[in-house]
């Protein structure tokens, strides 16, 4: 089942690349289905087949990056 995390602070392709890289470095590379911009200062991470723990880990990783937070 896919899960989507909304992220405030994303505004460019650099942000997309950075978040994707941080999640991959955190061991979640295979769980990333997509990272995308969806609006003004708003983006999403879509995870596939992620457990509750993996979802929590992804949120933790994203919230640690300066300038972004999950909503």
């Amino acid at each position: 089942m896919n899960k989507v995390i909304k992220i405030s602070g994303m505004h460019c392709q650099g942000c997309v690349g950075l978040i994707r890289m941080e999640l991959a470095d955190g061991g979640l590379e295979e769980k990333i289905k997509d990272v995308r911009l969806v609006g003004d200062m708003l983006g999403e991470v879509e995870l596939q087949n992620a457990s509750a723990e993996e979802l929590a880990q992804a949120e933790k990783i994203i919230n640690k990056i300066e300038g972004y937070h999950t909503i």
């Binding site: 460019c12 392709q13 690349g17 950075l18």
Partner: protein, 473 residues
């Protein structure tokens, strides 16, 4: 990794828009074997890498790594010349929005910092601290604390801030904060040791020397300010400033500049030690007290206490420069902030010294407004002699019998000290009075045999006491 096994490679980058792009590029490039450090700069559109000397990274490989991120790397700038921050086109002002966004936060923080500096200056904290021959070491310590958040901050603090950039670049490969802090620590140790030893020397010399040559001291401030200005412009990325490399002449400094020993060991120590000779007004007061003590130990303790008082504020400058350069993407912003502060301090120091030398300065704007509002001035004569009279109180010199006098008439320069404090205790009236006039409590008199026609400024040794213009006609 020792620096001589590394090489620095700089590439131009297209496609960056924000700090996240900087972080992404830095982190991704660091994953390449052999790359030790990376600094991406949105403002300059460049990335600087420190890597093993025997590594050759192909640009095509880098571009392949970043293809999905839509960045393009090249050895030469591919896009048209970098747009300036502000320009005039077709009669209207155009602001580079990208640069404005990048610099806005740093500029705002710099403005807040300067507002805080002026706020503290407004209270003229120096007037609350008076020292004399009988003051305790605690009083000199307090004097140091006040000095470090006042005029000395502009001189010594500004110098320290401007050196931070080159020290950071020297240790860019080091992750350990203790190693990166080494030049800062050596600076502060050098300063403390020199103040201790040279304070004792002053005490020993006693009345053999005097510290009262405004021209020499002003020259020193101008020289140091020139170096600070260059470093400040380099921090702001001004291209012509970056082409000028500062290096101490080896013949002059010998061992301290030997390349084998240079790295973080002796140059910062020497610079810290040499701050003893920077003529911050408060430092001059402490030095005069050390001189007057006539004793090595007392002189040494006075200057040590003073230097210790300045240590917290100067350490805060070191700490902030280290903290904000731990992350590459913060370095560029810190450089903008620090560059603006340094340039302001340069202007502040130079303006003060222009007052000391009696030359036109920014203070004249205020003085011209005041004098146009108060046209009355008196030429006072008492037979064949005239008297220029002041009251020194708080943090100002108050003329009591006018500001216009006759040339060629034997003149008494009289200052009644009714509680002037801080660096105001050392009055400068270059051209009228030789050297500095140390104001003792009560009446202080100096004979001026043949005052020449001209305009003179009466202020303190740092030019901080609001100058009073005296006209000799």
């Amino acid at each position: 990794m020792k620096k001589n096994n590394s090489k620095q490679v700089e590439l131009f980058v297209e496609g960056m828009h924000c700090a996240s792009c900087e972080i992404l590029i830095e982190k991704k490039l660091l994953k390449n074997k052999g790359i030790k450090a990376v600094d991406a700069s949105l403002g300059n559109g460049k990335v600087t890498m420190l890597m093993d000397k025997d590594i050759n990274i192909e640009i095509d490989e880098i571009n392949r790594q970043f293809k999905t991120d839509e960045y393009t790397f090249s050895k030469t700038p591919r896009s048209k010349k970098e747009e300036p921050f502000i320009k005039v086109r077709n009669g209207s002002l155009k602001v580079n929005k990208r640069k404005a966004a990048f610099y806005s936060k740093a500029i705002l923080i710099a403005l807040v910092f300067l507002a805080g500096f002026f706020f503290i200056e407004h209270f003229q904290l120096g007037q609350y601290i008076s020292v004399d021959n009988n003051s305790t070491l605690g009083a000199f310590f307090l004097l140091g604390i006040v000095a470090a958040v006042s005029s000395c901050a502009a001189l010594v603090g500004g110098l320290l801030l401007s050196m931070a950039k080159s020290w950071h670049e020297q240790y860019i490969t080091e992750e350990s904060i203790s190693i990166r802090a080494r030049p800062h620590i050596m600076f502060h140790i050098g300063r403390l040791i020199s103040f201790t030893i040279l304070g004792g020397v002053l005490g020993t010399l006693g009345g053999l020397i005097t510290l009262d040559n405004p021209v020499i001291y002003s020259g020193l401030v101008f020289f140091v300010s020139l170096i600070m200005a260059l470093l400040g412009l380099q921090m702001l990325g001004v291209s012509w400033a970056n082409k000028i490399k500062l290096s101490a002449p080896k013949s002059l400094l010998g061992f301290a500049t030997d390349d084998n020993n240079f790295k973080g060991k002796y140059m910062p120590f020497s610079i810290g030690a040499m701050t003893f000779f920077l003529p911050c007004g408060f430092t001059l007061i402490a030095q005069a007290m050390a001189l007057a003590s006539g004793d090595f130990v007392r002189g040494s303790l006075i200057m040590t206490a003073f230097a210790l008082g300045t240590l917290p504020a100067l350490s805060a400058i070191s700490y902030s420069s280290l903290k904000f350069t731990t992350k590459p993407h913060l370095t560029a912003k810190f450089n903008v902030f620090a560059g603006l502060i340094v340039l302001f301090f340069v202007a502040y120091n130079i303006n003060g010294q222009l007052n000391v030398l009696g030359l036109p300065s920014l203070n004249d704007i205020n003085l011209n407004i005041e004098s146009s509002q108060n046209q009355e001035s008196m030429v006072v004569q008492n037979g064949d002699e005239q008297t220029i009279s002041f009251i020194a109180q708080g943090f100002e010199y108050i003329p009591t019998n006018g500001t216009t006098f006759k040339a060629g008439v034997p003149t008494k320069f009289v200052v009644e000290n009714k509680g002037i404090a801080g660096c105001g205790a050392y009055l400068a009236a270059t051209g009228l009075v030789n050297g500095y006039l140390q104001l003792k409590p009560g009446l202080n008199e100096v004979e001026i045999a043949n005052p020449r026609a001209g305009t003179y400024k009466v202020t303190c040794t740092m030019g901080m006491v609001p100058p009073v213009i005296i006209k000799i006609i």
